[in-house]
């Protein structure tokens, strides 16, 4: 428990602040509308649902402001760069931007539900009071005229007795934009479920662009000024607490109380969302501008098991280890951008990605590059964007775990180490790297084998055999493979990979690994980096908590998961 707190205190604090602000705004607005004199007469017709609707509206404004910010990738990269002096914990928070985006979305859904239900009550009550003929306060209030010459000081938006609520909903700006926004929200949220995102990403991506309607609708939702409160002068002339009882005599000239005058509230949503919308527009323009820059493909390599490597060049492109880029191929699909981790090191004069065929877009891309006699398709690149792998060299001891295709960010890191050693950069803070590569079969990663072989050789040459400690785990083994391995036991190199390090079969026993690392580095801060499935993340996180000592001077394991 103590370890969990140490690792997550910033997230908890951040979420607590966000929730606290939501609660505060809700309660504050609720009390304001429930007790203010301005809305005395409005409350006579509507009751508490006025305050409910307005409170949830304020929370909606607040959350709509927040929801665009976590998806501004360039902004986050910028913050990451400028905050290099900040502690690791603060920068790690930026990795969780999508989680925050989802939380804010859920809060928006909740408040939308409250807002809609409250306004349904409101419309119903307005409708009833319009139709009331008993001369009560509410009917008098409702009959206040909509005539523009008298300043339009009406209260009840339902003008005529035979106007149905459905009619008002679809003809008033607030009602119509409300319906459009809600349908857009429903479609966005339902298409963003994990199942659809993973299986039909294009559906998710294109449907999510309905947010444009949401934002536009939000901006003009309040223009009609349907929420009415009494004007200042009207309150001064006749305070509702005094005059409300004498409503029958408002028309008499000798009564001190006149008919109250009402005015609508100006729309305030646009004030909340203006800045994030501008930031987001800048972000999209930046992405578009970056994508228009020419990308020169210098080399195309087709590896076995349908892995395509693309080496490219782009003017002004500079990257760090483990970053990713978004790639678009207009000839395949003009609007789809897919992220790929860079597999080249920053020291190289090109940047490369490895693409594996699993999905429509990637298969089409590989097929397009396989055509030997047609011109190479044009590629657009946006990025690079930073992730946790940038922090690998900040740790004295780094534990890198790559599962399956998750090994690609580590390709970049290991290559960078190779270059650093070649260039005799001995200022590396990192003193030891433990690399675990877990995959079902190695056929798809033969390209990675090359890298490991070169690294092995180099470490031997430089006499730094202890620096890189890697183990390969083959989880998809059968008796044939084990038989082979058993027969070739005394060979110096592994039969499957050709590496000096023998392949282990099955999954690693993390407890053993972590305890070994903890005992060999008792006073260090160990960074654990994972690129792989959730289940593995869970077990690694548990091990990190278990083997970090509570004393901050002793061994500490920090867990970083790639953002997938």
């Amino acid at each position: 428990m103590g370890n969990w707190v140490v690792n997550h205190w910033f997230s908890v604090l951040f979420l607590a602040v966000w929730l606290g602000l939501n609660v505060f705004l809700f309660v504050d607005a609720f009390l304001k509308y429930e007790t203010a004199d301005r809305y005395y007469y409005t409350r006579k017709i509507l009751g508490s649902t006025l305050a409910c609707a307005r409170a949830s509206a304020l929370c909606l404004n607040f959350n709509s402001m927040l929801i665009l910010l976590p998806v501004c990738r360039s902004l986050l990269s910028f913050l990451r760069g400028t905050c290099s002096f900040c502690s690791r914990t603060l920068r790690k928070q930026l990795d969780h931007n999508l989680t925050f985006h989802k939380l804010v979305a859920y809060m928006i859904c909740l408040h939308t539900a409250i807002h809609i239900i409250a306004h349904l009550f409101n419309f119903d009550r307005y409708s009833r009071s319009r139709q009331a003929t008993d001369g009560s306060l509410v009917s008098i209030l409702s009959s206040l005229s909509h005539d523009e010459t008298k300043g339009g000081s009406w209260l009840n938006p339902i003008q005529f007795r035979n106007m149905t609520v459905e009619y008002v909903t679809f003809t008033s700006i607030a009602g119509l934009t409300g319906v459009i926004m809600t349908i857009a929200l429903i479609l966005m949220v339902t298409s963003a479920t994990e199942f659809i995102r993973r299986s039909y990403f294009e559906v998710f991506w294109y449907t999510h662009h309905l947010f444009i309607f949401y934002i536009l609708g939000l901006g003009i939702h309040g223009i009609g000024g349907i929420v009415r409160g009494q004007t200042e002068e009207s309150i001064n002339e006749g305070h509702p607490h005094k005059c409300a009882e004498y409503f029958e005599m408002w028309n008499n000239h000798d009564c001190r109380c006149r008919r109250p005058e009402f005015e609508g509230q100006p729309p305030e949503s646009w004030k909340w969302i203006l800045a994030p919308v501008i930031l987001y527009i800048c972000e999209r323009i930046l992405r578009f501008y970056r994508s228009q820059q020419k990308v020169v493909i210098t080399k195309v390599v087709m590896h076995p098991s349908k892995v395509l490597e693309l080496q490219m060049n782009k003017r002004g492109f500079s990257m760090e280890v483990g970053q990713y880029i978004f790639v678009n191929c207009p000839s395949i699909s003009p609007l789809e951008w897919h992220p790929f981790t860079l597999t080249s090191a920053p020291e190289e004069d090109f940047f490369s990605i490895h693409i594996r065929a699993a999905g429509d877009w990637t298969e089409n891309l590989i097929r397009a590059f396989e055509q030997q006699y047609s011109p190479i398709p044009r590629i657009e690149v946006d990025g690079p964007f930073g992730t946790a792998s940038e922090d690998v060299f900040q740790y004295e001891v780094a534990v890198l775990v790559g599962a399956g295709i998750g090994v690609t960010p580590f390709a970049s890191i290991l290559k960078s180490i190779w270059y650093k050693f070649q260039g005799a950069d001995h200022n590396l803070k990192t003193k030891k790297i433990y690399f675990y590569w877990i995959c079902r079969e190695t056929g798809a990663f033969s390209w990675f084998n090359d890298l490991l072989t070169s690294l092995e050789k180099e470490m031997e040459e430089l006499g730094k055999v202890g620096f890189l400690n890697y183990r390969l785990f083959l989880t998809g083994w059968d008796s044939n493979i084990v038989g082979h391995a058993a027969l070739n036991f005394d060979k110096a190199t592994d039969i499957l990979t050709g590496l000096k390090q023998k392949t282990s079969f099955g999954r690693p026993m993390w407890d053993n690994e972590f305890s070994t690392i903890a005992t060999s580095h008792p006073k260090s801060v160990v960074g654990v980096f994972l690129c792989g499935p959730q289940t593995l993340a869970k077990s690694l996180r548990k091990c990190c908590h278990r083997y970090s000592s509570l004393d901050p001077r002793k061994v500490q394991f920090y867990f970083n998961k790639e953002n997938f």
Binding site: L120, V179, T182, I183, I186, E194, F195, R198, S199, Y200, E202, T298, K299, V300, V301, M302, H303, P304, S305, K306, E309, Q311, H338, P339, F340, T341, I355, R356, A357, A358, G359, D360, T362, E363, E370, Q372, A403, G404, I405, G406, C439, R440, E441, T442, G443, A444, S446, W447, D450, L451, T475, G483, A486, L487, G498, R507, P533, Q534, T535, F564
Partner: protein, 210 residues
Amino acid sequence: MPRRGREGGDRRLRGSPAPYRRRSPPSRGHLGVWGQGLGGTGFGRERRGGSTRLPVSRQGPCSHGADRVGHVGQRAGAGVRPEGQKYMTSVVKLFGPLTRNYYVRAVLHLLLSVPAGFLLATILGTACLAIASGIYLLAAVRGEQWTPIEPKPRERPQIGGTIKQPPSNPPPRPPAEARKKPSEEEEATAAGGSPGGPQANPIPVTDEVV
């Protein structure tokens, strides 16, 4: 590792291409003119042949072409499947063509959306059901239909099945023709599926001629 073959759920059968799993093994590096590149560095070397003959298998729901997992669109129904649909599947299967056909579903959703349209409070329900009806109609026009996902019976290797029996008669062994009958029966029952032939070797023996 995440479990494969989850139960239940909607899977849309598309008329056209088979998933890539069933294609023939990929051809090896056929780079042609591009293979030379512009002076490749150490890591850009093309592979001329597969290093192993292991079958290409999917790595579970987390492996995609883009290594930014969870992003690239996969084939319909491949990989992640919604959980907890086992009982629904058995119920929906009961009605046969009535629930399998997406035209029927589209009409059903359209009819269901009508009553909700009369009251303002439920009008969002109308809108959602109408959109769902439209989606089913689009799917039906494209020739999709509902197929229940059965849990694939996982083949548990028999505990004793992989233990291969060593040859029951010591060398020198007689040629196949003079093979004793009792030992043949013994081997056949004990090994239970080891490849037939005069001599069943426990480990595939290859003639290693360097």
